[in-house]
Amino acid sequence: MAKKLMNTAVQTGPRRIGRHTIQRLLLYYLVAGGILLLLTAVFPQRAMTPAGDIPPTGMAEGLDWLRWRLAVMPLGAPAWVDACVQMVGAFLLVLPIAFTYIRTRTRVKYDHSLVQTVVMLPIVVTAILVVVQDSLALAFSLAGIVAAVRFRNNLRESGDAVYIFGSIGIGFASGIHALSVATALSVTFVVVELVLWRLDLGAEFDDMFNRLCMPSGADRAAPPSSAGDVPEPTGGNGRKRGASESPDSDPRLTTLRIYVDDLAAGRLAVEQVLARDAKVWTASSTEPGEGTAGVLEYRVRPRKSVGLAAVRDNLLRDGAPHIIATDETDAAHRL
């Protein structure tokens, strides 16, 4: 099941993660992990250095042995070098998170300042924690300083907050010399976020409702809802997919005004295209014009693999010569 899910995630659909993306991420983590291991071995934390000149023995002490062999500063790196190592670690581990943000956001939802924030934040948090260490007094001072500064910023997307928290988490882990925890957080974050984005979890309300809340074998086309029934289309044979898709209330539906020179022939052409290219569509109104001409209005949700722009292009191409123009109607115009 999981294999099937991942195959689907990698290969198909408009939300493709892409084989190259996965390969690059894997390669990046391998290289970053190697760099971090080397850095922590060459510049060991003072408290972690093996005692004396005797090399540690035994399989369980393999890493300590490596450190002992590689350590440039066997007695432990000075505080500033140690802080630099942790900050470099935080930086390396947060980059895939920033990349995931860029990969999963549309141009509209993308906020470039958030990318820079996500990259900088763990470095700063690491430095703060290196300074505070185990000092209760410094911790209280930090709390006082933070309380004195008012942070207020509206995020473009509520989901962006998760990136901020993920970034802080990596900073915390790096700051307490737990780079392994930071690595685990970074990898888990990236994997879960990419999978959630790929599957668009929760977007298909009816499907999710049917799968999770309805008894097995129940009629999936008609989940119980307090929203009432879907109004029948005034024309055409639009496929209704449940109460949540009431054409007036469903924000995922776009209103298309289609100008045709012949209402009957135009409607036929429009509905042939919509039956093929739209996941949900309903005819909402017809405005007769001069002679046989007029305007057909449809509420449309295109198939994800097609997209609204392509639906409009296909209407013009396949609906020729009767379809003259297609226009997306905004809310103001509808009112």
Binding site: R257, Y259, D261, G289, E290, G291, A293, V295, A309, R312, D313, L316, R317, A320, I324, A325, T326, D327, T329, D330, H333
Partner: protein, 179 residues
């Protein structure tokens, strides 16, 4: 008194086929803020009609009000000479705050024209006559300001929002042909 409809000539800048159901002609000024605001709307309108619309652009620089408009129009013609009129047209409308000499050269470089030839054409005012011809045709057709739009040769005086323009163009496209 009726003004003559602007006749479409061979050296007009045209997007779309001659057999399109409706023709929209714009007299525009690259430094005019209203033209700049109308530019993305016209792009949407072109998208709404696809092959059913033919779009024609003509220059009408308002030299008294817009000091860079004339040179911008000539720059568009210099780019047109190298086959990049629409790229320059879009770029000029999208960068109305950079229409001085340096800005025009930068735009030319960005769209990939031969900058040396472009600068020579601008310095020699090679296309001043071409721009003036557009202006004269506009004056003859009753253009007094920018942007001035003509739908199938008839000046359009309605609102310039997308929905109104699409409706007006669709009505013109669906109107029975005048014998």
């Amino acid at each position: 008194m009726t003004t003559p409809a602007p006749a479409i000539t061979g050296d007009d800048h045209v997007l779309g086929q001659a057999g399109a159901r409706v023709t929209l002609m714009e007299y525009g000024d690259f430094e005019c803020p209203s033209c700049g605001a109308t530019h993305p709307i016209l792009r949407e309108v072109r998208r709404a009609f696809g092959p059913n619309l033919r779009f024609i652009f003509r220059h009408y620089p308002l030299r008294d009000n817009h000091p860079h408009a004339e040179m911008a129009a000539q720059a568009a013609e210099a780019a047109a000479a190298q086959g990049k009129f629409w790229e320059m047209h879009d770029r000029l409308y999208e960068h109305q705050d950079a229409l001085d000499q340096r800005g025009l050269t930068r735009h030319a470089r960005k769209i990939g024209v031969d900058v040396a030839k472009f600068e020579t054409d601008l310095a020699a005012r090679t296309y001043a006559t071409r721009v003036e011809r557009d202006v004269e045709s506009g004056r003859a057709s009753g253009v007094r300001g920018t942007p001035s739009l003509f739908i199938n040769g008839v000046i359009y005086r309605g609102p310039r929002d997308r929905a109104s323009l699409v409706a007006a163009l669709a009505n013109a496209a669906m109107a029975p042909a005048v014998p």
